[in-house]
C-alpha cells in the first residue's frame, strides 16, 4: 500500500493569495494512500526541504508530491531532497499549482478546486511510480572527426591536445580543405597557407591523432559513447610505409594534361600526383581513371606504362593495391565535411537547383568563380600569383565581380545567404588592386553584409581606399564580343540599365554542402535541411550538437561559415567531446522506453516510428540455443524518451519509464467525476 506525503507550498503569497493552500492539504488527506499532508510558506527553502526529508524518515513515505511551482523550476530540487532522505528520487513529482493555477486565476474558490484536482492527479501518478535508476553507459574515449578541412583540423587538434585519441578521416588525398586553396584571408589579408600548413603538419605529427587520408566513412553503428565506425581506405596505389615523398614518380608520368582539382581546372596535374606541394600526408596518389595503366586494364589490355614504378627507388608503387576496410571504436563523432561551390551552369546536379545559362560560365573562358580567382591570386597557383586571363594569359584591366550567384535566389533553389561572399569579393578587389595597379574592379551587389569583427571596415576600405566601384544591382546577361565580355546589367540606385565591357568576370557563387552529405547523414542518422546542410539540435542553445547524441557538427557542413566561425565551432565541438569524455561512464535520465519481453510479438512498429533508431532486434533462444522469437529491444543509450513507440505498440509491450500507461490512467482517473 502506498504511503504518499503531500507538501503544499504557499510560495509566499504567490500561491497562497488565490489558493487556499491549507484547504488543499486538508482535502488531500482524504485521498487513499496519503498518510501525510501539510502546507508551508516556502517549500523550496532549506526548512521546507527538511520537512520533506523528515517526513520520509518518520512516516516511511513511499512517494512524495510537492504542490508548488512548475516541475521545470524545482523538480530537480525536490528530487535531490528526496534522494537525500534515502528514497528513490523518481518517486517524487511536482503538482504545478502556481504557473498553471494560482497565477492564471483570480477566483479563489475555483482556483482552490483546481489546485486540489492538480494535486490529486499527481498523487495518483506517484502511487504508480516505481524506483528508477540513472542509466550508466560506458564511454569509449576516442573521437572520430570526419573531414580534414580547417574545421576538422581544429577539432582534431583540440581534442587530441585535451588528451584524447582522435581518428581524422579525409576523403581527398590531403588534408587542408578549401582553406589551403585560398590566397589571402579577410579581413587581415594574411596568407592562408602560412597560417594553415603548420596546423596540418601538427595534425600529422600529433601522437594522439590517427590520420586516414584518401578514406571515407563506410558505415557507422552504435550510439553515444559506443560507436563502431568502418572506414574505407581507398587504394592510393602507393605503399604509404615505403614512400618517402621524393616526387620522382610524378615527374615521369606521361599523362600531364589532367585539370588539377586543387587549381580548380586552371592548372594541370599528372595521373600520379600530389595535389599541392604542402600536402599532408605528402604522398602521391594514382588517379586510376586517368592512369594509362589502369585505363588499359579497364579495356582488357596489358599493362604498358609503368614509368612511375620504374622511377621509384623505394618500390612503393603498388598497382594491385586494394581498398581496405578498417574498423574503429569511438565514443563521439564530429562531422566537418565542409562545402562545395554551386555549379553555375545550366546543368545542375539536383532537380531543385537551377543554373544561370545567361552568364556564359563554362563557355566564356574568362568568366570564372571565386575559388578560381583565389588560385590565380595565390603565389603558389598556376600563374604564380599573377592575375591573368585563362583565355589568352593577358592581364585584365577591367574586372567585374558579381555577388549572390545562386545565393538569396529562391528561383535557383537557394534562398539562403552564403555569408562569406561579400567579404571575399571585397578582398578580391583589393588583391586585384594590389597586383594590377592600373586596373578597375567593379562589383555588382544586392546588399553588403559585413557583420563581423573588422568586416565593415574592411569592405569600406575596398571601396574608399582601394578604388573598387560598387554598383547596387544585378547583371542580366553576359556575352563575348571579340576578346571582350559584354555585360548587361541594371543599377538600381541610379534606376538605369548599364552596359559595360570587361576583360574578366568573377562570379561569387553560393556555398552548398559537399556532395554525398545526405548519404553520410543517413549513415550517422543525423537530420539535414532541404539544402543538405546538417541540422543542429537547437539553433540557439545547442548549435554544435546534432539530434543524435554523441554526434557533433562543425563548419560549413552545417551552414555557410567563414574561417573564424568554422574554427570557433570546431573548438566548441572539441569542448563538447572532451566534456563527454570527462567520465568513464555516461549518466542519463532513466526516462527511456523498456520492452516487456514476454508480450512483445516482434511486429517492430516501434522501430518504424523511432526517430533515433533506438529499437534493435533481440533474439530469444531456447535452451538449445535455437532462436525461437525475435523481439524488440530499446537501446537505453540511444532512446531519448519521447514515448512514440508506446503509443504505437499494438500489444502495449513497450513502456516509457516515468510515463507508463498505468501512471497516465491513474492521472485520468483522478480527474474523474
Amino acid at each position: 500500500m502506498a504511503r504518499i506525503g503531500v507538501f503544499v507550498c504557499h510560495c509566499g503569497e504567490n500561491i497562497g493569495r488565490t489558493v487556499d493552500c491549507h484547504g488543499v492539504a486538508e482535502a488531500c488527506k482524504d485521498v487513499p494512500g496519503v498518510v501525510h499532508s501539510v502546507d508551508y510558506k516556502y517549500m523550496c527553502s532549506d526548512p521546507g526541504q527538511q520537512m520533506v526529508k523528515n517526513a520520509i524518515a518518520e512516516k516511511g513515505l513511499t512517494g512524495v508530491v510537492v504542490a508548488a511551482c512548475s516541475p521545470h523550476m524545482h523538480e530537480k530540487t525536490f528530487r535531490r531532497a528526496t534522494a537525500g532522505a534515502g528514497l528513490n528520487p523518481f518517486l517524487c513529482e511536482m503538482a504545478n499549482v502556481r504557473e498553471h493555477c494560482s497565477w492564471i486565476h483570480e477566483d479563489r474558490e475555483k482556483a482552490t478546486v483546481k489546485a486540489v484536482d492538480i494535486t490529486k492527479t499527481i498523487i495518483e501518478k506517484v502511487k504508480r511510480n516505481v524506483p528508477l535508476n540513472t542509466i550508466r553507459i560506458p564511454v569509449t574515449r576516442r573521437a572520430l572527426v570526419i573531414g580534414g578541412g580547417i574545421a576538422g583540423i581544429q577539432a582534431a587538434l583540440d581534442i587530441a591536445d585535451g588528451g584524447r585519441e582522435v581518428i581524422l578521416v579525409e576523403k581527398g588525398p590531403s588534408i587542408g580543405g578549401h582553406m589551403s586553396q585560398l590566397s589571402e584571408t579577410f579581413p587581415t589579408l594574411d596568407c592562408s597557407q602560412c597560417i594553415l600548413t603548420p596546423r596540418m603538419v601538427e595534425v600529422y605529427q600529433h601522437p594522439r591523432i590517427k590520420l586516414y587520408a584518401y578514406s571515407e566513412v563506410e558505415s557507422v553503428e552504435g550510439y553515444i559513447g559506443n560507436f563502431k565506425v568502418t572506414v574505407r581506405r581507398k587504394a592510393r596505389s602507393v605503399d604509404e610505409d615505403k614512400c618517402n615523398g621524393c616526387g620522382a614518380c610524378t615527374q615521369v608520368c606521361p599523362n600531364k594534361k589532367i585539370p588539377s582539382e586543387f587549381d580548380c581546372g586552371l592548372g594541370k596535374r599528372t595521373a600520379i600526383y600530389v595535389p599541392f606541394p604542402q600536402a599532408v600526408p605528402n604522398l602521391p596518389t594514382v588517379d586510376r581513371n586517368k592512369c594509362l595503366l589502369f585505363m588499359n586494364r579497364a579495356k582488357g589490355r596489358p599493362d604498358t606504362c609503368k614509368k612511375c614504378a620504374d622511377a621509384c627507388a623505394k618500390g612503393a608503387i603498388d598497382f594491385d593495391q586494394q581498398d581496405r576496410l578498417v574498423t574503429e571504436d569511438v565514443g563521439a563523432i564530429v562531422v566537418a565535411t565542409g562545402y562545395q561551390l554551386y555549379t553555375i551552369g545550366k546543368d545542375q546536379p539536383k532537380d531543385n537547383l537551377k543554373g544561370y545559362g545567361e552568364y556564359g560560365y563554362g563557355t566564356i573562358p574568362d568568366v570564372i568563380d571565386g575559388l578560381q580567382f583565389e588560385r590565380l591570386a595565390s603565389a603558389s597557383g598556376p600563374t604564380s600569383g599573377k592575375i591573368l586571363r585563362p583565355s589568352d594569359g593577358k592581364e585584365p584591366k577591367r574586372i567585374v565581380f558579381l555577388q549572390c550567384i545562386g545565393s538569396r535566389d529562391p528561383q535557383k533553389g537557394m534562398e539562403y545567404c552564403s555569408k562569406i561572399c561579400c567579404m571575399y569579393v571585397a578582398k578580391h578587389t583589393m588583391l586585384y588592386h594590389h597586383k594590377v595597379h592600373d586596373g578597375q574592379a567593379t562589383v555588382f551587389y544586392m546588399d553588403i553584409r559585413a557583420a563581423g569583427k573588422g568586416y565593415e571596415e574592411f569592405s569600406r576600405r575596398a571601396i574608399e581606399e582601394e578604388g573598387a566601384q560598387y554598383i547596387r544591382g544585378r547583371v542580366s546577361r553576359m556575352w563575348r564580343e571579340g576578346d571582350v565580355i559584354k555585360i548587361l546589367g541594371f543599377d538600381t540606385l541610379e534606376g538605369e540599365p548599364i552596359e559595360m565591357d570587361a576583360d574578366m568576370v568573377v562570379l561569387a557563387t553560393a556555398m552548398r554542402p559537399q556532395p554525398g552529405i545526405d548519404a553520410l547523414a543517413q549513415k550517422l542518422s543525423v537530420s539535414y535541411d532541404q539544402h543538405g546542410f546538417i541540422n543542429e539540435a537547437h539553433p540557439k542553445l545547442r548549435p554544435v550538437e546534432t539530434n543524435t547524441a554523441g554526434i557533433f557538427v562543425a563548419g560549413a557542413c552545417q551552414a555557410p561559415r567563414d574561417i573564424p566561425d568554422a574554427v570557433a565551432m570546431a573548438s566548441a565541438t572539441a569542448s563538447k567531446v572532451l566534456g563527454l569524455f570527462a567520465n568513464e561512464m555516461l549518466e542519463r535520465e532513466p526516462t527511456v522506453a523498456c520492452v516487456n519481453e514476454a508480450n512483445c510479438a516482434g511486429c517492430f512498429h516501434c522501430e518504424r516510428v523511432c526517430a533515433y533508431g533506438a529499437v534493435e532486434h533481440k533474439d530469444i533462444k531456447d535452451r538449445a540455443g535455437n532462436v525461437v522469437r525475435v523481439i524488440a529491444y530499446v537501446n537505453p543509450g540511444v532512446c531519448q524518451g519521447c514515448g512514440t513507440c508506446q503509443a504505437t505498440c499494438p500489444s502495449k509491450s513497450v513502456e516509457l519509464q516515468g510515463f507508463t500507461d498505468e501512471q497516465i490512467w491513474g492521472e485520468i482517473q483522478a480527474l474523474g467525476v
Partner: protein, 308 residues
Amino acid sequence: MKIGYFPGCSLHGLSREYEESLKAIVAGLDTELVEVDDWSCCGASSAHGSSHLLGVALPARNLAIAEEQGLPEVLAPCAACYARLASARHEISEDPQLAGRVNNVLVRDFKNTVRVRSILEVLKGQIAGIKARATNPLKDLKVACYYGCLLVRPVQVTGGYDDPEDPSSMEDICKAAGAVPVKWNRRLDCCGGGLSMSRTGSVVRLSAAILKDAKAAGADAVVVACPMCHSNLDFRQKAMKHRGAWEGDMPVLFLTQVVGMSMGIDPKTLGMGRHFVSTDSVLARTAGTGSGSGTGTNSAAAVAGEVG
C-alpha cells in the same frame, strides 16, 4: 487535341499572317483551335497602366468566357495577350480579395480554372509531331530566335515552362523544323514594345541593336512569336535605315511560319507576302516553294510603298 484560342486584335489585323500560319500548321498537328466566344481586348499595353482592376478584369472576362465554354486551356499566340491573360490568372489566384472584386465587375462566377498557354509552350509539346511532319526541312537556314520580354517572363506568371533568362524552347522548335538556330546575345532584349508610335526613336535604337546582333551571329532571318516584336523588327527597318541605324534587309518570320515552311505549306497560305522586308531570300532556300515567293514580295513591297 482541342485547345481554346484567343486571337487578340493583332492576329486579326496587323499580324494576320501569324493567324494564317498558325491555323495552317495546327491542322497538320492534329490540333483544333476553339475560338473564345465574343472575345474582347486583353488590355495589353494600356489598361494595366491606367487601372489595375481594369488590367485584370479585361483578360479575366475572356478567361471567364473560356471557362463557361468548358475550355481547360487557352492559347494566346500574341506575347502581350499571353502576358496579360497569364498575369490575370496568376494575380487572381494569389489574391482572393482581387478575385472577389473582379467577379463583381464581371458579374460572372469566374473560378479561374483556365490555364493560359503561350505558343512556345504549345509547340514545345508538339516537337515530335513537328519533326515527323517536316517534309521540307529548312536545311541550313540560320535563324536567330528572338524571345523579347514577355514570352518566358516572369517565371511566377509563366509557371516556368522555360528558363526565364536563358530559354531554349524556340530554338528546340526551330531545330525540329530543320532550321539551325544561331547563338546570339540579344534574344531577350527589349524591342521597344508599344512605344513604336510615341517614341519611334527609342524603338529604332533598340530594334536595330537586336537586328545587328542577329546579323553578326550569321542569321538569315529573325524568328519571333509576338506581333509587336514583329512590327518593330520588320516594319521599322525602313525607319532604321532612314536614321542610319541599320543597313540591309533582315527577314523577320513568325515561328509558325518557320514550322509551316518545314511542313511544305505554300508560302501564300503562310502569309509570307505580308511582310515589309522581303522573305524571298528565305523562301529561295526551301526548294520547290520559290513559285509563291514572287507574289509575296510584290505585295509586301506594295504595302510598304503605301505606308511609306
